[in-house]
Symmetry: D2
Subunit: 107 residues, 4 copies
C-alpha cells in the first residue's frame, strides 16, 4: 500500500506544478514560491512536536502526515521526489545498517 | 521499493526499542527519551530548510531522509508506525482528493 | 530605550492576560492556550531563518521582532518576564563571560 | 538593567566577529558561517518549545536566553543589532499599540 499512496501523491503533486493557483491548494502553494512551502514545513514540524507532547496518537499521525505531505511538495519544487529520499535511505542501509550509519554521523 | 525500505527501517527501529543504549544510535536515542527524539526532529526540519535554501539537491535529499528517519523513530516511541501515516494519507485521498482536502483545511 | 520598550511591552502583554479574547490579538492568543503561543514561536523562528537567507535586513529585523514579541507572550503565559531572561543572561556574563560560558556548554 | 546587559552582550558579540575561531564560542560560530548560526536558532527555538511543554520555569528561562543570545549573533552577522529590533518594536507601539498592530497582521 505504501508504494501506491506515496507514488500517487507524488504524481498528484507533480501535476499541480504550473497549474493555475486557484485550482488547488498545492497549485496555490507552488505559485507562492519556495518560501511559502518552507514556512509550511517549519509550521508542520512545530505541530508534530506539539502533537507528540500532547500525547494524542491520532493527532500525532495527522500532523506527521501533514509534514510528510509538505516535504513531498518541497521535493517536487526542487524537481526531486520521494524516490530520491527512499534511495538515500536504502543506500545508508546498504552501507552498514542504517542505525550504525546514523550513529557515526551523529554521535 | 518504497514499501520495502520504509518497512525494513520500521522493523529495525522497533527492534532497537528497549535495547541497551550503547548498541546503536537509535537505541541510545530511545534511552534518552522523547525530548531527545523531538530535538532531533526540530533540528532536522531546520536542516531541511537550510538545505532547500542552499539549492544543493543531494543535500536536500540527505536532510529530508534524516527528517523522515527521525519521524519514524518518533512514531515508534508512540507505538505507531509508518503505516498509520500512510493510512491517514490514503484516507485523505479517498475523501475527495488530497489536494482539495488540504485546501479546505489550510485556506 | 531598550528597557523602556521591553518593559512597556511586558506590561501591555500582562494586561491582556485574562482579558476577553476579542479585545486584542494577545488576549485572543492567551485564550487559545499555550499550544497556540508555541505554534507562533515555531512559525516566527522559521520566518527568521527564511528572512536571514533572503538577505533583506529590514525583513530580518521585522521577523526577529515578531519572534521576540511571541517569546514575551510565552514568558507571561508561564508567569515569567523579560527580566528573568535578562537576569539569566547577566548571570552567565558574571560567571566568566558569556561567550566562554556558552562555549563550555555547546562545544 | 536590561539596556546594560543587552548592550554589553551586543558589544561582546561584535568584538568576536572576525576574531580567531579558537578564541571563543561566538568567534567559532561566526567562522562557520551563517548556516551554523541559523541551525542554532532553529535548535534553540525547538528547545524553548520543549522547555515550555516540560513546565520547568527555570528551564524555559534558560532556553529563551539561549534563543535570544543566538538571535543577537545572527543580527550581528547581518550588521544589525538589538537596537534595530527594539526600534521596530517601538515603532509598532507608536503606530497604534503593539497588540492591535499584531492583531491586524495576524488575524
Amino acid at each position: 500500500m505504501s508504494y501506491d499512496i506515496l507514488q500517487r501523491l507524488t504524481e498528484t503533486i507533480a501535476s499541480r506544478k504550473g497549474a493555475a493557483a486557484e485550482t488547488s491548494y498545492v497549485a496555490k502553494l507552488f505559485s507562492k514560491g519556495e518560501d511559502a512551502i518552507l514556512k509550511k514545513v517549519g509550521e508542520e514540524a512545530t505541530e508534530v512536536l506539539l502533537a507528540a507532547k500532547g500525547g494524542d496518537k491520532a493527532h500525532l499521525v495527522y500532523e506527521t502526515a501533514d509534514l510528510w505531505f509538505h516535504c513531498l511538495v518541497l521535493l517536487e519544487q526542487h524537481d526531486l521526489s520521494i524516490n530520491d529520499v527512499l534511495i538515500e535511505l536504502a543506500r545508508r542501509e546498504g552501507v552498514s545498517g542504517i542505525t550504525e550509519k546514523m550513529g557515526r554521523k551523529n554521535d
